[in-house]
C-alpha cells in the first residue's frame, strides 16, 4: 500500500517529462536495467499463489525492516542488511534469537522453497522423520554463504502430548540406502514444550556451505521429533507444519551472503 502511494506521488511531483516508451525503447531499457541488476535475462518464476507463501512473506518483512532502517540511517555509510527487526516480527519468542552480528554484514539474502518432503519411518525401530530438500545451485555468482537457517512452523501439538516436551533434531543426510536408514550428521536440536507454537529456526550454515561447493552431496535434511523417553513421534502430531499446511506456514530455508567479488558488468 505504501509503495503504491509513493509511486502515485512520484507522478505528481516528477519534473521529468513522462511519455509512453516505444516497444524497442522499453526492450532496451529492460536490457540495461537487467544488466545493472546483474541478471542475464528476466527470471520467469512459477508464481501462482507464491506471494502468500511463507518465504516471500518472510523476505518482504525483511525488506521492509531493512528499508525503514535505511531511511533512518540515510547518510551514514552503512551498506549492510539488518535482520534484527525481522526476527522480532516473524519469529515468536519460541524461535531462538541467536547472535545476529554476522547477519548485519550480509549483501544478499535468499530464501529457498522446499522441493521434497517425505514422511518416513524405518520399520525395525519405527523411527519417524521428515525429509526436506533445497536447490542451492541457483545462487548468483560471487556470493559466499555467511549464515543459513532452516525454518519450520510449529502449532500446538495434539492433545495426546499436551504435557510433553519434545526434542526436535535436524540432520544432514550423508548417504542414502534402499534397505536401511540413511547415514546422518547432526546439525542442530531444540527442546520445545508441546504446547508452544511459532517458527523454529535451525542453524544449517556449515551444511549449506558444503552443498554450495559440492551440489552432488546435497541429499537434503532430515527432521526428527522425540518425546523425552526417546521414542520418535509423527511430525504432524507434534504440530509441525509441512507441505500440506497453510501457505504462510510452509517450511523454508534462508541463507545470508556476503559478496566475495565486485559485480563487473561486461564491456560492450
Amino acid at each position: 500500500g505504501s509503495a503504491e502511494g509513493n509511486f502515485a506521488d512520484h507522478h505528481v511531483h516528477s519534473s521529468f517529462i513522462y511519455r509512453q516508451l516505444r516497444h524497442h525503447e522499453k526492450k532496451e531499457i529492460q536490457r540495461e536495467i537487467l544488466s545493472i541488476l546483474g541478471l542475464p535475462r528476466r527470471p520467469k518464476p512459477f508464481t501462482v499463489g507464491k506471494h502468500s507463501s511463507s518465504a516471500p512473506l518472510f523476505m518482504l518483512d525483511l525488506y521492509n525492516a531493512m528499508s525503514s532502517e535505511q531511511e533512518t540511517e540515510r547518510g551514514a555509510a552503512r551498506g549492510s542488511l539488518s535482520y534484527r527487526a525481522t526476527l522480532t516480527t516473524q519469529s515468536p519468542p519460541l524461535a531462538s534469537l541467536h547472535d545476529t552480528n554476522f547477519l548485519n554484514d550480509a549483501d544478499m539474502v535468499m530464501s529457498f522453497v522446499n522441493l521434497v518432503e517425505r514422511d518416513k519411518y524405518f520399520s525395525h525401530q519405527r523411527r519417524h522423520y521428515k525429509e526436506f530438500r533445497f536447490d542451492l545451485t541457483q545462487i548468483p555468482e560471487g556470493e559466499a554463504v555467511t549464515a543459513a537457517e532452516f525454518r519450520i512452523y510449529k502449532d500446538r501439538s495434539n492433545s495426546r502430548y499436551e504435557n510433553d516436551t519434545f526434542r526436535i533434531t535436524i540432520y544432514q543426510v550423508l548417504k542414502e540406502y534402499s534397505n536401511r536408514d540413511a547415514d546422518l550428521f547432526l546439525l542442530d536440536g531444540k527442546k520445545i514444550r508441546a504446547s508452544a507454537g511459532g517458527w523454529l529456526v535451525f542453524d544449517i550454515t556449515a551444511t549449506s556451505n558444503h552443498w554450495v561447493v559440492n551440489p552432488q552431496h546435497n541429499l537434503g535434511l532430515q527432521l526428527c521429533v522425540e518425546i523425552m523417553d526417546g521414542r520418535t513421534i509423527n511430525i504432524r502430531s507434534a504440530g509441525l507444519i509441512g507441505r500440506y499446511g497453510p501457505q504462510s506456514k510452509q517450511p523454508f530455508m534462508v541463507a545470508f551472503f556476503k559478496a566475495s567479488e565486485v559485480l563487473l558488468r561486461s564491456v560492450r
Binding site: F7, F16, K26, P45, Y63, M66, L81, V109, M110, Q138
Partner: protein, 139 residues
C-alpha cells in the same frame, strides 16, 4: 533520457557553425541563456512500467535521479566541485575550443534493495550500491 540529451547537446555543439538557427530556437536545450547550472534532476525507474511485477516483489520502482547542467565559472557556490574541476574550468576558459568544461556528475550515491523471484521461485533480497544520486557536482 539524460544521455540522449547530452548526445544532442554534443551534436548541436559540433554543428553550431553550420546551423545557428537551431541554437536560437525557443525550445532549444543548448541555448546558453537557458542552460541551468549543474543540478540533480528527477528520474524515476519504474519496474511496474517495465512489466516486471511478476518477478520483482519490491520496490515498484525507485527514484534514481540524474545530474545535468552546466559547470561554468564561477562554479555554483552551493554545488560540490572537485579541485580539479576548478582547474579544468580555467583551462577551458583559456582554450574553449579544445578543452571541455568540467562534467556535471554524481558526487554521492545511495544503494537500493530489490526483492525478486528467481526461475525456481526462490526469493532474493539483494542490495545494489550506487543506484540513487544523492547529490551532483562538477568533476
Amino acid at each position: 533520457a539524460a544521455n540522449s540529451k547530452r548526445k544532442n547537446q554534443n551534436r548541436n555543439k559540433s554543428s553550431s557553425s553550420q546551423d545557428s538557427s537551431r541554437l536560437s530556437g525557443p525550445g532549444d536545450y543548448n541555448s546558453s541563456e537557458q542552460k541551468q547550472a549543474c543540478k540533480k534532476h528527477e528520474l524515476y525507474v519504474s519496474f511496474r512500467d517495465l512489466g516486471w511485477q511478476d518477478w520483482i516483489i519490491a520496490p515498484e520502482g525507485y527514484a534514481a535521479f540524474y545530474c545535468d547542467g552546466e559547470c561554468s565559472f564561477p562554479l555554483n557556490a552551493h554545488m560540490n566541485a572537485t579541485n580539479h574541476a576548478i582547474v579544468q574550468t580555467l583551462v577551458h576558459l583559456m582554450f574553449p575550443d579544445n578543452v571541455p568544461k568540467p562534467c556535471c556528475a554524481p558526487t554521492k550515491l545511495n544503494a537500493i534493495s530489490v526483492l525478486y523471484f528467481d526461475d525456481s521461485s526462490n526469493v532474493i533480497l539483494k542490495k545494489y550500491r550506487n543506484m540513487v544520486v544523492r547529490s551532483c557536482g562538477c568533476h
